[in-house]
Amino acid sequence: MLEKGENKEYLPIEGLAAFNKATAELLLGADNPVIKEGRIATVQGLSGTGSLRLAAAFIQRYLPGVKVLISSPTWGNHKNILNDAGVPWSEYRYFDPKTVGLDFDGMLADMKDAPNGSIILLHGCAHNPTGIDPTTEQWDIIADVIQEKEHIAFFDVAYQGFASGSLDEDANSVRRFAARGMELFVAQSYSKNLGLYAERIGATNVITTSPELALRIKSQLKRLARPMYSNPPVHGARIVANVVGDPALFDEWRAEMQLMAGRIKQVRQKLYDELVAKDKSGKDWSFILKQIGMFSFTGLSQSQSENMTNKWHVYMTKDGRISLAGLSSAKCGYLADAIIDSYYNVQ
């Protein structure tokens, strides 16, 4: 990009066209009928947050009063985004502390309890903060319920490629929903999978039922973006478009993603091995291996998490979430000691 010396003119409100094309194709696959039929409105957004916020503003304007259901727990900023956008929200059960896994029955029950026509915020892959994802079969059942209740699914896709190492595999949930002809919101981020955190690059996608609708929706998304920031920053968009548009760079990216996801899997394994070796009580620590992505919900309580910090100088969030991305294999033993001490010796 430095050599090309491109200019620094404003992007259009919807962002860089090459990026918008690339990001929709990454999400759905280039040959997906949704794309071929022009049934998707894509607008470049300010990473995941900005893309979520734009979608939330659209929901507030076009579905005033409709509630968004968010998982319990979910990324801390989801509720801030919905609050500041003036969109009401409530929670659906998600994390089961007893199994340190998915409370699937609770999740479905809460989705069914909600008034018809609600919006369900789902994490496409690598749920943040728990690392617990539904299986493919569970995704299908979730989609069934959503269709039955005439809800609309809203995917937050912040880790495509980063979770399993495969872009296609990580987009499985979204693609299955799209294949059913469902109307969807999808917010994407390239912060983690391309390491472009500070460039703020992502996209708001609305998948709908006809190309005319997609055009109209896109124009309204632009109208919401204009008084927020006029047009999005160009730098990150160009990087993504360049990487995806050059086969050699794209291959390199795929390989690097495999490496990143691979390192995280390795470190999960190491942490698990250390915990099993040090904890003689027979507690089942396998959730660490079953969870996926950057985060692990350890099941530690707030006071136990505070112990991690105060006694062991391990910095984590108070909900018991650890970021495995911050863990080196050298520190796994130390971390295991800290977790075991906090779990057993602090109430």
Binding site: K8, E9, L108, E183, E199, T209, R226, M228, S230, P232
Partner: protein, 436 residues
Amino acid sequence: MAYRSRLAHICSSSAGRLGCLQRSGNTDALSSFRRLYSWWSSVQPAPRDPILGVTSAYLADTHPSKVNVGVGAYRNDEGKPVVLQCVREAERRIAGRELMEYLPMGGSAKFCELAVGLAYGEDAQALKDKRVASVQALSGTGAVRLFAEFIKRFQPESSAYLPVPTWSNHHNIFRDANVNQNTYRYYLASTRGLDFEGLKEDLKAAPNRSVILLHACAHNPTGVDPTPDQWKEISKLMKEKEHFPIFDMAYQGFASGDTQRDNQAIRIFLEDGHQLACAQSFAKSMGLYGQRIGCLSVVCADAAEAAAVKSQLEFIARPMYSSPPLHGSLIVTTILSDAALKELWYKEVKDMADRIIGMRTDLKKNLEDLGSKHNWEHITKQIGMFCYSGLTPEQVDRMTQEFHVYMTRNGRISMAGVTSGNVKYLANAINEVTKV
């Protein structure tokens, strides 16, 4: 399972009917059904943005003589966008160096420090007292939006007053932030200059403690700025009324060519002891349009208050975009913290301002040479990127349809789009549509 079998009861719900139609292969019926049952059938196409829509229309035009004097982006004399040398050099220094980890929510602290030094003058007492809260923002738009959200939250009883006319997006920003807005008189059509008496009357009539949006220099769209004496009077009047000034400064350096002359309104207000806010953009003055780099600063009573205000601004930014983009802030910081690069920038921004001033002179002269009966003095009296030509919307439409000259319907011409290559053509077009 129960939920599966409910789907099997086809045609009892729209989901079921959709399944029916999909299986039937009747694409027309499927299409109509989809439109009817779509969530979004009430979504109408949004009106085109009056400014950005002009550029897309221009790009779609294939006429060889087309001229874009619509959007306010600087062009050189060949009509090409310009990346400043100081910016290219800054990028060379940045490339491959910096990690891409998130900035803090308030952006780069170093960037903010340099930005406010530029805006207020390095010797500003408020800066020495450390009582200016500042956050990196998404260029000027983002800075004004943060400020509007802040006002909504912390001074909800205050209405915002915008000049007539103002940049069209100002209205959108305050509206989407749900801040009550009013207007004050600014432009006087009969003189193509400032309606100073009207301005003063309206600011006096506004309830005390209103929020007043002021363009620090190079008013957009009119190019009409108050004189220093007029600024002093406005400052005094606003102090009496306890109004809060928010300065939108998108053209510092670009107006007169001198950054410390273009901010004199702000310095006058600071001397008079106003607690003011400033929304700064580096889009034009450093040519960093697409990087979205700006700064919102708020002058507070003391350092503790400034810290509190900053934290609240960050709190507003977090659910909007979490943290601002890095690249532009690195460029600005590199330039402003290096004496030689800063000097180069000063020179380049002055060159841009001078070219525009030259084009104003040429345009006026060309119109006079064509024998136009109208008074075109305002072309050279107005300042900055824009000229409020006085053309009516109908005349603007003729400019576009007959002459392929693209400009906004309020008669605003972006002088940055005028070149020695097109100034005669432009003058001719204006002359033709304004002939009596």
